[in-house]
Subunit: 157 residues, 3 copies
């Protein structure tokens, strides 16, 4: 497999992920995952302590979609948007149809009234299915740098 | 045309744009646009409502340069600088000598006294002339996530 | 030398640098530099005034390592971490085994209690040894946008 093509495909997947969330196209977000998959949002101290329970978890596309539905239905929280910027993507390995990639992010949150703040920072630890033309996340573990994150974290990170 | 060359050229143009603004080389900024061109800074709600009037607009390099001159002449605002970081660049199409590319940004503002704050977040929606060796913006629409932006927005984003 | 391979190598080095600092693998950080090298953290106003003394300086890997040891030993400051995101990397030249590359950064700081803030913004002005397989920083000059930076700046930027 061509290294360069793999890199571009991974960058495209990671960029698409941020775009679908930030542009509020949440219904299209689960399709970026394999099925079954593993999606976990966890803070660093818990992650490093070996815990595997986080503030968000899904094992299938259906579970991801359930989260989107509940966001749409509930509407309990104040409307807001995220804006992701993502640091250099480091491809750790790419073998047997699966790539391991790490990247960094900073996410700003924009409230309905326009107030903008630094919301979250952390790492993406990804295992990506690169065996078919459309790359998909097999695992996406979102390790947050801080524990000080809204427990009612609603929109996926 | 070689896909990879197009990608590198687009990344170089977008990087150069940030560099010329952030390093206060504003006089060199209009040269990154085609002539005529379209440069529009608009907040998301207005953009999504179909409005095409924003907080900054230019249709030619001359208009872009006028803005730079007025910044230099007026000196009314407190001196400050920006620092852009830009998320993954997604190339949506590249046909007939024009590429469509979307990217995300977070901009910090650094005041003269050193105070640094998160200033703006949003998207770049670009149409780029890739028919000649030096790529140029045909359209650059800057969609701001927030309406809470200084109305006296001076330095281009 | 293949332009594309050089670009990927430079991106990998710059990404690795951020990762080793942000993941608190500081002991592995000096190995990313040539020996001797030049590592300088300086604010823009001093840099532009031609001063070459900054808030951090090292001329050898040993000096870089000394800094890491003193961080580990002293433990005087409140524990914290950084998170870097890095804007587009512009390769200015690549000749005679040395590449010149500029990039932008925004760094968030995450305190032990989870409080997260925008800590620093600026530029990396790099000269990189690309003559061997593992690229290394010959010079890395970190030009901070603001002078308002903790004088007790501890972790390298």
């Amino acid at each position: 497999m061509d290294d360069q093509a793999v890199r571009l495909g991974i960058e495209a997947l990671i960029g698409e992920y941020a775009e679908r969330i930030d542009e509020d196209r949440l219904e299209e977000w689960p399709a970026l995952f394999a099925d079954p998959c593993k999606y976990l949002v966890i803070c660093r101290s818990n992650y490093e302590a070996g815990m595997r329970q986080g503030v968000m978890y899904a094992a299938t596309r259906g579970m991801l979609l359930d989260r989107v539905f509940s966001i749409r239905r509930a509407n309990l929280f104040e409307p807001h948007r995220y804006r992701h910027v993502i640091g250099p993507i480091r491809i750790k390995s790419a073998e047997g149809g699966v790539a391991v990639a790490h990247s960094h992010f900073i996410v700003a949150r924009i409230m309905h009234d326009g107030a903008t703040s630094l919301f979250a920072t952390g790492r993406y630890l990804d295992r990506i299915d690169i065996s078919a033309e459309d790359y998909r996340f097999v695992d996406r573990i979102v390790v947050l740098d801080s524990e000080k994150i809204d427990t009612l974290l609603a929109i996926p990170l």
